[in-house]
Every structure is written in C-alpha cells, then in structure tokens.
Amino acid sequence: MSNTLPLLTILWAMPLMGFLGIFLMQKNLKNALDNSRNLALFVSCATFLFSVAIFFQFDSRLDIFQLVEKYSWLPMIGMRYHLGVDGISICFVLLSTFMSLIAVISSFHSIKTHPKTFYMNILILEFMLIGSFISLDMIMFFIFFEGSLIPMFMIIGLWGGENRVYASFKIVLYTLTGSILMLIAIVAISFQMGSTSIKLASHFNFSMDSQHFLFLAFFISFAVKTPMIPVHTWLPDAHVQAPAAGSILLAAVLLKLGGYGFLRFSLPMFPEACYTFAPFIQGLSVVAIIYASLVALAQTDLKKVIAYSSIAHMGYVTLGIFSLKHEGITGAMYQMLSHGVISGALFMCVGILYHQTHTREIKEYGGVVGSMPDFTVLFFLLTLGAIGLPGTSGFVGEILVLLSAYSSSLWLVVCAGGGIILGAVYSLTLFGRIFWGQIHNKKVKELVDIQGIEKIALVSLVLIMLVMGVYPKMLMRVFDNSIKDITSILEGISYE
C-alpha cells in the first residue's frame, strides 16, 4: 500500500485525545459545560470526517483487509497489535463515528449535570467501538468489546432515569456472562493455533468437536449483545433508563457488535458448526421477530416500543446471517447499517420529546403535530424506515433476508413476514397516538419544534436513510467482496 501513515491508529487515537483534553480541563470553571461539549463536538466531528476520508481511501477491489498495521505485542501468546479494515468493518467504523457525532449533538441541551464526565464517557465509548471494529487480533477485539461496556455502564448509571442502577447492573451481568465464555474460547484458540490473529483463524481448520464448542462460546456472547431471545431483557431496561445519547449509541452501534462478531468470527472460523446450528438459530431469530413485535405492541412506554422493535429488527439480522447465503448475509449487513441509522435517529427523536415533556408514557402525548410539524414529518419518515417501506433503507435489508430465507424454509418467510405486519401495527399505533389526535396535555401544546443543529442532524439522518434505500449499491459495493470471501469459505464446506 502506498501510504505509510498509520491511518487507523490515528483515527482510533482521535477520540482518545479528545477524552484526555476534556479530562485535563478545569472542572469548576463556569463554562465547563460549553467547553467540554464544544470540544466533544469538535473531536467527534473531526473523527467522523477523518473516517470518511478513510472510507474513500478504501478500495473494495483491492485486498480484503486494507490499511493493515501489524506490530508484535505479547509474543508468548501470539498476540499482536494488529489493525486493519475490510469492507464490513469500514462501514461499521463510519457508522460509529457518525452516530457518536449524533450522540454528542443530541446531548447538547439535555445533559446539564457533570458534562465533563459525560462527554469523556461518550468519547471513550467511541474509542472502544472504533477499536473493536478495526482490531484484527482476538485479544484486542475482546478488550475493546468488553471495554465498551464500561462507559455504557457509566452513562446509564450516572445520567439515566429513575431505575438506572438496576438497568446498568443488568446490562453488565448479561454481557459479562456472555463474554467470559468468549474469553475461554479465545484462550482455547490461542492454544490450538499459537496465535490470536483473526485472519489466521478464519482459514484455520478447527476440528469438528472444538468447532462446536468454540462456536457456542462465541455465539452466546454475541447473542447477548445482539440481543437474541431469550437473553434480550437487558436491552429494554437499558434503553429506557439511558439518556438519549446512550440509547443512540447502544441501538445504533453497540448492538451491531453482535452481528459483526457473527460475521467476523462465527461464520469464517467455524463454518461446519454454522451449518449444524443454523436451523436452530434461524428458528430462534423468527421467534425473536414475532415475540419482540408482540411485546412491543403491548408497551405503554415510548422508549420500550422502540427498544423491542430493535430486538425484532435484529432478528432479521441473525435470520439473514444464518441463512449462510450471499443474499442473506448482504441483507443482514445492510439491515444492521440501516437499523443503526434509523433506530439511532428514532432514539434521538425520543430524546428531543422527552427533554421537553419529561415523560415517556405514550398516553401523555397526542396531537404533537400541531406544535412540531417539521419534527413530525421527520419522525414519520423514520417510522416508515422502521416499518421497512420500499424506498427506505429498512426495506432493502429486510427483503434480501426474506428472499434468502425461503431457501431454508417457507415457514421462516411466513413468520418473519408476520413480523412485518406486526411492525406496521406497533409503529403506526405509536405514531398515531403521539402525533395525531387531540391535544390533552398542556406540555404538548408548549412543545417547540426542532431547530438548529438538531434539525440538521435529524434531516441528514433521514436523507441518509432515503439514499440508502434508493441507491443501496453505493454501500453494498464496498462490503460485497468481504461477504463473498465469507461465503466462499462457507461454500467450500458445503460442497465437501
């Protein structure tokens, strides 16, 4: 490669520098709030722009992994400082930097207590997320994967709602349980292979027995993160209690670590085990879609509806990935990116509403369109994206997943399609109850429409959603080769 600058390290260090910058600020200054949030905005903006530059640097026709940096770190266990991106991870890097920027913007007005610590947490979370998407070493990945939990724990536990302690306790309990198994699996791989390189492991022939064990260990960890039924209950609580920025990053990026893990670890490393467990996981995904959609239907809390809808949408992701077909995986990948944008934007919307009314109860709203017309249009478009209407990004992922699911079974299509109907029911009910109807709450009448930087952010999210829906090739071109690489491994197995 022509460039010699360690681009990924620079990218990865940028939020860290911002973190240090805010850390070194004086705490008791009057304008600590302004200073810290402006610096956070600047840093996240710069990181985003830099990641865009890297995105264009990336050429999907060249190698699978690009911008690789490799240094020895702990030679006795074969661990290396090993960074690199392929088509899949570069998209996620872009998603994380962009959504971090959105998260910072969404906390502009809502975070008043301990702003310094808050923005430090956001930036360190961004650092962890970028790190986990660009590391090509399992131990590094594990550190970042786990590390992302700490700032999330702080964000929920310190700036969350009335029940924040329980929620933050639950997220840690669940995720930790899963990741202990992953750690064991990583140790086992390192013993077998003498290295912890992800690239090596994806072409290493693990024996059938060890594949099953390793697959399950990784699977549980990623399933918790995704989250899949029945290890999903941490998500609604975490979402409901988290401040807007926390929800945005949680829904948009943190959940994608699970799907990313499947694509990076499970599929290429343990292809035989994938074929063994795929029917079971696909069944579980369909159950998740129907179950979460039904539960979303019964919710009275605004954030919980969107949280459960996230679970349902991630059900399409796992359904697509474990179809083990090119289209299914492409669809799942696209669904993850699309869900990142849409759910992030929806949680931002909820944050805007909550900041002004201080209630999450759906029945407290009604007639919001009267006082916030522009906001209503944007929210409606996002709802359409969540429903998966053609022309929005949500449709592309869902239809690819559904088209590929038929090759496994008709019933998967029927059930997952049933989820589409239920999705329309709860989404439109939510929209109708909040934005239409008569105003019966004084606070709703006093709502102020979005403006300024929040409006710019939301409009750009909606535009991204529409562009992704109308011209998906733009992104698919980037990660297509990487997915072909995965499917070639899978197909190599199926023909043997």
């Binding site: 039904l294 919710q299 053609p390 690819l400 559904l402 109907i421 029911v425 109807g437």
Partner: protein
C-alpha cells in the same frame, strides 16, 4: 423521453410543493400540483391515442437492489397495459386535482392535501410502469402509504386515525402474500423481472410443492392474497368502507378509480402465470363472486352515501376478479377502465351532494334535491346508469362482456359465478337508484336550515365531474373494439393473455335484471310500497346481518385482534417480566445471595470448628494420596 416525464413530474411537483409550502399561499401549491398532473395527463394521452403505435420498451434508470446473478433496476416499462393504466390514472387524477382545489379550499391543510394526492399519483404511475416485482412492490407500498396519510387527513378525528391504520395494516396482511410470492418466484426463477419470468415459464410447469400445490398455483395464490388486500376482496375488504373517513376526492381517486384496481392490474400483469394455475383461477373466481355478492347485499341497506358507493366499488372489483378467474383478462382491464370513470363521477357527484347538504352524509336525511342541484343530479344519473350497465353507457360494454363470458365458463364455480353476476346486476341497479331516489326525490328529510342552504357546487367542482361523466358515457363505445377484439394488435407485447371476442346484442335478457332493480327501487322509494318495512320487520335477522356488514368487523375483533393483544400482554407480563427475568438476573442474584448467606455460617470464628474441618479433609485426603498414585 416522454415516459419518465409522465411518471416523475407529479413527484417533482409534490416535492416542490412541500418545500415552498410554508412560504407561499396555498393557491400556489394547488396550481403547481394540478399543472404537474395535467402535464402528465397530456403526455399520457399523446402516448395512448395513437393506439397502433405502441412500442413496448423498458427504460432502465439505475440499479436498485443487487441480488445474486441479477440486479433489480429502477426502471420504467411501457406496453399497452401500462398505456391504459397511465391514461386512467393521469386523467382521473388531474380531474380530481381540479375538483380538490375548490373542494378543499376552505381546509387549512389544503396544500398538504394537494401535495399528497400528487405524491399518490406518482406512486401509482410508478407501480404500473414497474418492470419487476420489487419496483411494483415499491409503488404498491407507496400508494398504500399515501392512502394512509389521506384517510388520516383529518388527524384530529380518532375515527380517521383508526381507519387509516386499519387500511395500512390490512393491506400489509395482503403484502405478506405478495412477499411470499416474490420469495418463491425468486427461488425458482432466479429473477423478479416480469419478462424474464414469462420467458422461463415453460421450464417451470411441472414443479410441485409440498402440501399438494403446484408451483404456479402457489405463486399465483400468494400474489392473489396481495391483490385481495389492495383490491378489498372478501376477507381483506374491511378497510375500504372505513377508508371513507378521508376527504371525498380521495375516495374518488384512490378508493374507486386507481389504487384499489392495482390488485386487478397485478393479476392481469401475471396472466401468463395464472393461465398455468387452474386451482388459483377457481379460487379467484369464487372469491370474486363472493365479494361481488356480499358487498352488493350490504350496499342495499346502508345509509351513508359514501359507504354505499364504497361497497359498490367493492362489488364491482368482484366483477373484475370474476373476469380474471374465468381467464377474461382483457375484460377485467376493460371494466377497470370504464369503472374508473363512472365511479369517480359518482364519488365526485356524492362530494357535491355532501357539499350541498352542509356535510351531511346520511341519505335518509336528504331528499327532494334535484331542483336545487340539477347538474349534480344529472351527473349522478349518468354515473348510476353507467354503473348498472345501461346500454349506451360505458359500464354496459364492460359488465355485459364479463357476464357474457361467465355464462360460458364451465364448472360448478363458473355456474355459481354466472348466477351471482346476474343477481348482483339486479342488486346494483337497486342500490344505485335507491340512492338517487332518496337523495334527489321524495320529500325532504333535512333540516330547514340545511334545505335553505342547498346550492349547486361552483364551476371548478362541476367541470371535472362533467368531464368524467362525458367519459363515463362515451369511453365504452369508443374503446370496446380495442379492448375486446382479439384481432386488433392492441395488446401486442404486453404478455396479457387474450380471450375470445364478445358480441353484443341490445336484446340480451340479462338487461332485464337492472330494469327490475330500478323498478323495485322506484316502487319502494317513490311510490312508497312498504316492501322495505316488511323486510325490516319480518326478516329482521337477515336485515340486521346485512346492515351490520355481515358482522365481519366484530368477528375479526373477537377472533384476531383481541387474542393478539392479550397474547402480547401475556408475553410481556409473563414471558419477559416473570419467566425470563425470574430465571435470568433475579434467579442469579438471589441464588448468589442465598449461597453466600449459607456459606457465611461456616465462618464461625471458633478455632475448634476450623480444626474439625481441617481434620475431615485430612481424613478424606490421606486415602487419596495413598491409593490415588497406584493407577
């Protein structure tokens, strides 16, 4: 190129209207959107009028969804079938635009309204010009979306919100069928493009699926479920009457002339598939006749002027599906074509009536209005005569041809459909003239205040209705050769399976039935023969059953909606909050606490206790040390 201009002008105008909406007076958006659709209409007529110069073609715009080995394109397809649809959609849409500028002028959201019907027009055009199933689905959902927003246009009313939601969700149930159909087609054909699918048909005939379906039967059945949702066929029709919550121009454009016929369009588009699916054709024939019958029986008892016409639409759609079920695709298209004009006439006429009666919709509270609103009266007559199939009017040609073909359809379902089509022709005449007599004749039942205020609509509202009624009179006689004569090369290149020509005779005994219907309506509502009273008192059960719309809404509430919501609550309260929470975090923390407490009691602090423990372990260990090493 003309085609992209036709399709995208309404979209462009809608977006432009949306952008300038806050900055200009509403009238500017009215003019903008109307001109946009008018432009599309002129271009469509240019394409449609030189019938013999259709050049089937497909314009690919840019790639959409890449699938394995085949990429779907955003594209515009043009063939005779599309030409017909373009003509219908743009003409009715333009006239409805003109009508709405006046009808909605006093509404605060009139600009939003114009923008939405323009957007709807775009999606409808996008649907009919689709070259593959995915894009068709995009237009399909797009029109559903606009329908949702327009039914819920008066979003202060809870009934409107509920009706809008119902329309969208019932349509989604149909969409599930369409999605499954697409998935199956994609799996077997490897493509979703119409032409490629039809080309590959011969190789796919003998594939059978589990459950005893043949491949073609299954695919077309799934597509038909999608069509049932959009076209309000029996079972999935429940949204259409409620959709009348929307403003009347919407009912005319979306819920009579265009969107609801999308299902018919889809079926005709897939006619080569249907020809290989005898079972599905029978099912379509059956569902079509049930729909025609049940909707007509409900229409004769309703009192809301818009709902009567809505059920009539439902019933006429039933005719179209009967035609499809008997393989008479061109006849279905023909009826779609004529129906669009006369039903739009009726709806817009009804809008004028409602307008005249100060927003009263109950026909029992009207009467004796023909002197005050003569033009509207004439339009309603024209629309009704076309609807019942009176000879020179357009409905005659399409409806009679369908009944004619049905009379030659073999099989018990065919006979059933034929009898139903005759009986429904009678019922249609009855309810159409019941409406006319109750609204325009007899004695006035309205308040004096309302009566004093009855007035003819302004000319901007009359003009479109007059135009539509002219079309409703003449379009049938002008075009029936084109549609029904298989010798004309009109349908070339459209993949529509043709059917034998129909010869009309003015002395068809079938014509007697509508006359009987009119006479009966005249006897009851003008001469006041108390037949209806007799029916109400002596056949109460049947009357109630019809009046409550066969109780289907109630049935669905009990059988589907309530169970789903209770299940949702059970899953949430029991599944998530009790079982998973109980086994997961709660169980873990409680067991940890419990074990901790128990083990804590071992730490007594007395040295004697610890010595006993050490001693026990030593006793256990010693044998291990000695015997363990022997192995």
């Amino acid at each position: 190129m003309i085609l992209p201009l036709i399709v995208f002008t309404p979209l462009f105008m809608a977006i432009l209207a949306w952008i300038i909406l806050p900055h200009f007076k509403p009238i500017s958006t009215h003019i903008l959107t109307t001109l946009g659709v008018g432009f599309s209409m002129i271009l469509s007529i240019i394409l449609f009028v030189p019938f013999f110069h259709f050049v089937p073609q497909t314009i690919e715009l840019f790639p959409w969804i890449p699938l394995e080995g085949y990429t779907t394109y955003w594209s515009l397809k043009f063939d005779p079938l599309v030409g017909v649809m373009l003509f219908v959609v743009t003409t009715v849409s333009f006239l409805v635009h003109v009508y709405s500028t006046e009808y909605m002028s006093h509404d605060q959201g009139s600009s939003r309204f114009m923008m939405l019907i323009s957007l709807f027009t775009f999606f409808m055009l996008f649907l009919v010009t689709a070259a593959d199933f995915l894009q068709l689905f995009c237009g399909w959902e797009g029109v559903g979306l606009c329908s949702y927003l327009l039914i819920g246009f008066w979003f202060h009313k809870d009934s409107a919100i509920e009706a809008a939601k119902k329309a969208f969700i019932v349509n989604r149930i149909g969409d599930l069928g369409l999605i499954i159909g697409m998935a199956v087609i994609y799996y077997y054909f490897g493509t979703l493009e119409f032409t490629q699918i039809f080309d590959k048909l011969p190789t796919m005939i003998n594939i059978s699926l589990p459950l005893g379906f043949s491949l073609m039967d299954f695919i077309t059945l799934m597509l038909f479920i999608g069509a049932m949702g959009k076209s309000a066929q029996f079972g999935l029709h429940v949204w259409l009457p409620d959709a009348m919550e929307g403003p009347t121009p919407v009912s005319a454009l979306i819920h009579a002339a265009t969107m609801v016929t999308a299902g018919v369009f889809l079926m005709v588009r897939c006619s080569p598939l249907l020809e290989l699916a005898p079972v599905t054709k029978d099912i379509i024939l059956l569902i079509g006749s049930i729909t025609a019958f049940f909707a007509a029986t409900i229409a004769i008892t309703q009192n809301d002027i818009k709902r009567i016409i809505a059920y009539s639409t439902c019933s006429q759609l039933g005719y179209m599906f009967m035609a499809i079920g008997s393989g008479f695709y061109t006849g279905a298209m023909f009826h779609l074509f004529t129906h669009a004009f006369f039903k739009a006439t009726l709806f817009l006429g009804a809008g004028s009536v409602i307008h005249a009666f100060s927003h009263e919709q109950n026909i029992k509270k009207m009467g004796d209005a023909f002197r005050h609103i003569p033009y509207t009266y004439a339009m309603m007559w024209i629309g009704s005569l076309a609807l019942i199939g009176c000879p020179p009017f357009s409905g005659f040609f399409s409806k009679e041809s369908i009944i004619h073909i049905l009379s030659h359809t073999s099989g018990s379902i065919g006979t059933f459909a034929y009898l139903v089509s005759l009986f429904v022709a009678f019922l249609t005449a009855f309810y159409a003239f019941r409406l006319i007599f109750l609204v325009f004749h007899g004695k006035s039942n309205a308040d004096d205040k309302v009566v004093a205020h009855i007035h003819e609509s302004p000319s901007l509202m009359l003009f479109p209705v007059i135009m539509l009624s002219i079309l409703a009179i003449f379009i049938g006689v002008m075009t029936y050769r084109l549609f029904l004569n298989p010798d004309v090369r009109f349908w070339v290149g459209s993949h529509v399976v043709l059917s034998p020509g129909v010869h009309y005779s003015l002395f068809d005994p079938v014509l007697l039935l509508p006359i009987l219907g009119i006479v009966l309506a005249w006897l009851i509502y003008i001469k006041e023969f108390p037949i209806n009273v007799f029916c109400k008192t002596h056949l109460t059960l049947i009357y109630e059953f019809l009046f409550t719309k066969w109780r289907i809404d109630e049935l669905y509430t009990v059988l589907i909606i309530n169970p789903i919501f209770s299940l949702a609550n059970i899953l949430w309260k029991m599944g998530d909050e009790k079982i998973i929470e109980g086994i997961g975090p709660k169980f873990l923390t409680q067991t940890t606490n419990y074990l901790g407490n128990k083990i804590k009691s071992l730490q007594t602090g007395y040295i004697s206790d610890y010595i006993i423990v050490i001693f026990i372990f030593l006793v256990l260990l010693i044998p291990l040390i000695f015997f363990g090493s022997y192995k």
